[in-house]
Amino acid sequence: MYRWFLVGLIVSGLLLAGAGCADDADDADEPVTLKLAQQPDFETLDPHDMEIFSDAKVARHVYEGLVMFDQQGNVQPRLAEDWETEDAQTWTFYLREGVTFHDGTEFNAEAVQISLNRILDEDLALRRRPVLDFIEEVRAVDEYTVEIVLEAPNAALLTNLCHWAGSIISPAALQEHGADIGNNPVGTGPYKFEKWEAGDRVTLQKYDDYWQSGVGFVDRIEFLTVVEDGTRVAMLETDEVDVIHPVPPESIEELRENPDTEVYTGPYNRVLFINLNFERENMQDVLVRRAIAHAIDVDEIVRSILFDTATVPDSILAPETAGYHSSGAYEHDPEQAQSLLQQAGWEKNDDGYWEKDGEVLTFRLVTPDGRYPKDSEIGLAVTGYLEDIGIESSLDTLEWGSYLDRINQEDPDDAEYDGFILGWGPGTNHADFTLRPMFATDSFPPGWNRGYYSNPDVDDRLSRARTTGDMDESEALYAEVQEILFDEVAYIGLADYRGIAAHSVNVEGIVTLPLEIVELTGARMSEENSR
């Protein structure tokens, strides 16, 4: 009987080992394929409807807009060679000639008109419509000239057109696929869509008739979805994939030391912060808010929890974002924090907590879990720091959907939190995309001003900055707003994330954009190890 058992074991062992070797066969003539493991899973490849950066990553290779961000997040001409405007309300774009979509359709003013009108179409209820909904009309003046008229002057048009919402889709493909364009993306980009295996991977192929030379070196790109952090790292170590993004902070040291892998650090515009709830009585006192800011050791958070994959933020905006202004950070100073509380009329009770009129000073923090790198761990650290100086703190760690539900309270009395942790990375890389939804009075829930911050000085500056055609003036206004928000402690900065990717030493030329997008159009693979 044992003999049978052993024979079974050996036979199946051999079978398994045989299967393991089966995929080692290599064909030297095979096209070069670059594999990237990423998460979360893809939702749609329709650029007018996509919300998450996984999708945007693919769109960045397949689609192009009139203008697009470069690596630093600056506006650069792409399908438009040039543009002009007198009053920031009527804009004329001069299009590039000789560009074709992947299906052979010619790119021209009509294509631009059809694409932009599509995203503006209310009946389609496309998710990215708000990015461009201030456009009143799109006119094709001639074959290669487009005029865009806005409802009111708006300097943010260019950055918003750089958003993937501004992608130009092949009109022929739109006609053919209709609502299924998200399964069959056809753009003008350096890579064309090959297939999407749901839950597994999206495969792109180099587009041979791309209008620009010097872009697109590998023949195919595969974007694999690998949700588990440890597995992604393992796949890079075993050379099953060439690039991973994002990289779990705790694996960075290991990947740096590994001679076969390299860690890439680039710009990224997401800032993690605590948004304070101005409707809560205790939070209405600026001294208390300042005390809380001084109690938290952001330096230590960035170093010990994020392993230096972030820096201490000195504004609500990242330096990469248009309109950024360095306004400062509150130093970790528990003494100062406690004397501020004393100044505000609080006294320590026998339990070591601050108390006023028989009420203990409490702080209830809400954080999402896993939405941003180490968000809930950072939340735990924050409540720890507050406990240290005598503020009774509690943390509600919620899954993303429940978190959104909890902090979306139209009646401020239902908002049972003193602050919530949020990571904001403006998709248009423009100050307006952070400041207006977060801090303008007319953005109260269901808008994103869920700290109920209301300041006429801020409101006024934000609307002036948006509508003035003068770039210097709008820059100055945004700077003032950031100063006010910092002085008033409307938020407490926790981390300014860096863009981190890791790749095999055989790959070079990968870059990350400030928008959490890895761009592989300039990536090359060295000969000996290419698959």
């Binding site: 749609t44 839950g199 694999l224 393992a234």
Partner: protein, 308 residues
């Protein structure tokens, strides 16, 4: 005649289960805090845009209307579209279902073969060294968390030894680690169940009679004992199959397997009502069918169980 009646009975049963599950899932997913429009709309959504999305997806309709239209469409073969991707639900669910079935079948085959073998081996000499060793391994196998086993398997067999790919699907080799990980618990369970029932059967009178009339030990075990010992084992296998089908979430996550478990989790996370509903109904129906198949096998093994 009997067959027709039984088939009709079972189909009715299946229909009732599917209907009950569809209603339960429909209501439960709506009970979880979290509005799909919040998750859909993104950070820059204006109230107008939110209203647009709500209307577009019919989420402004009263609940019974939503359920009626979901059920009506489903009966006509239209599973609707995913809120998250706008893709047809059938395009999301069917490939994932196929992948999960593949993994589950491979993994159950492994679990059945090794579980029964190990159980039989252990039972032939109860309390021997071999028995203790096999059952010890089985207890460990049943106790280890799948998630941990998966990650350790990747580190040992993919990263250090390089025998198998660590994740994804494609070649047969891609099945090895996830199938073993997923099947570990079932193997252990089947082994223990086989051992218990085999020991019981081997001590019955008819086995003693068989031995007495000079049947070889191999003949006793494989011709006489095993068939009777298999009934509870088959039941366990059936249950485990259903369990693996629905419970492969962790394994699929660790091994980046594009299956149903991951689809369910990600669509619950994004409150993608149509996908969650269809997926869970499908799981429930499969589970029911597997149980019916299990019953049929048991009836074949033991005619006394037949409804006559």
């Amino acid at each position: 005649m009997q067959l027709v009646k039984m088939t009709a009975y079972r189909l009715t049963q299946l229909l009732v289960v599917a209907l009950a599950v569809s209603l339960a899932v429909f209501l439960l997913i709506r009970l979880i805090p979290g509005d799909p429009v919040d998750l859909l709309a993104g950070f820059d959504a204006t109230p107008e845009q939110r209203e647009l999305l709500t209307r577009h997806w019919g989420l402004d309709q009263p609940l019974h209307m939503q359920y009626a239209s979901f059920l009506g469409n489903l009966l006509q073969g239209d599973m609707g579209r995913s809120l998250r991707s706008g893709r047809a639900v059938v395009d999301e669910v069917v490939p994932a279902y196929r992948n999960t079935i593949k993994l589950t079948v491979v993994s159950m085959t492994f679990a059945t073969v090794f579980g029964i073998l190990a159980g039989v081996v252990a039972s032939t000499r109860p309390y021997s060294l071999m028995d203790t060793a096999v059952m010890g391994v089985a207890v460990i196998g049943a106790s280890l968390p799948v998630f941990w086993v998966g990650l350790v398997a990747i580190v040992i067999f993919a990263v250090n030894l390089g025998w198998f790919p660590s994740a994804g699907m494609g070649t047969p080799a891609h099945y090895v680690l996830p199938a073993l990980t997923l099947g570990l618990y079932a193997t252990a369970l089947i082994a223990r169940m086989t051992r218990t029932t085999m020991i019981e059967v081997l001590s019955t009178d008819y086995v003693r009679t068989a031995r007495g009339k000079g049947v070889s030990e191999r003949g006793v075990v494989f011709r006489h004992a095993i068939k009777n010992a298999m009934i509870p084992v088959v039941t366990v296998i059936g249950l485990q199959f259903g369990y693996l089908l629905a419970g492969a979430v962790l394994t699929e996550t660790v091994f980046a397997w594009p299956g149903l478990g991951r689809l369910v989790v990600s669509s619950i996370v994004s409150r993608d009502y149509p996908v969650v509903q269809v997926t869970l109904i499908l799981v429930a129906v499969t589970y029911t069918v597997v149980n019916m198949a299990t019953d049929l096998v048991c009836e074949f093994l033991d005619p006394r169980l037949r409804y006559d």
